[in-house]
Symmetry: C2
Subunit: 142 residues, 2 copies
């Protein structure tokens, strides 16, 4: 493995929000961060988009107990170490238990069809309503 002898050079650019939404649409595996007693915890989730709303299914547990009505973070990324390129999209938002509620966000979340890869019953539906969506990408120079 060849290791760099100095800082990697290259360009780091912001991804506009509209393109972040396209990227979110094209993927289905992301990670949610929830805070439990001051301790942030990260969980991988299979998600689907409904417009700007991120929708995922879950079972009883930390996500169901601590995400709804709280601020959560969400992130997806992809890296190619041989090409020295990568991108990430980050979302700040508030989670909603969309399992049975009749608000617009919950309706939107239930219209999406996320397919969990992990086994186990996941009868609950959680929506993330974004307050901020941002992204960045880079490519190593030369």
């Amino acid at each position: 493995m060849t290791r760099p002898t100095s800082e990697p050079e290259g360009e780091l650019e912001e991804i506009p929000e509209a393109e972040c939404l396209e990227i979110l649409d094209q993927h289905n595996l992301g990670r949610i961060a929830v805070v439990v007693d001051g301790q942030p915890q990260i969980f991988p989730i299979n998600y689907a988009m409904s417009g700007r709303i991120i929708s995922f299914r879950t079972g009883p547990g930390t996500k169901l107990s601590h995400a709804p009505d709280s601020k959560v973070g969400f992130e997806i990324d992809e890296y190619d170490s041989s090409a020295g390129s990568g991108w990430s999209v980050m979302v700040h938002g508030v989670a909603v238990d969309a399992t049975e509620s009749f608000d617009d966000v919950s309706w939107a979340a239930r219209a999406a069809t996320p397919w969990p890869l992990a086994p186990g019953a996941k009868p609950f539906r959680i929506a993330i309503e974004p307050s901020k969506i941002s992204g960045r990408r880079f490519r190593r120079r030369g």
Copy 2:
């Protein structure tokens, strides 16, 4: 694309801590969650291990301003959607600005050699001292 018509079946098992540490050692791209004014944020980072200590380099910004002396989350994962298998390792801990400090955690963090893929100067070193390391993996049945 064939989509499942019911819940995926399979086995979900805990990964023992010793094996979680081996998996952490074998990888170099993870994600850290920090909390800024109650808002959890997730950032991808290239890391290296020094024993149980997770070490990464960073520049000025949110991670440097909000991780040190705070609870942080850290996570790595890998999924193979065609095989229906995956694993994740999750860490709870406290971050330390290890750039110049002389405590044991900072020494350990500086002994590790993380190689950031993203461009930009990253003269600061942050250590994560784990308070809890856990993991789980699954494989779809049949």
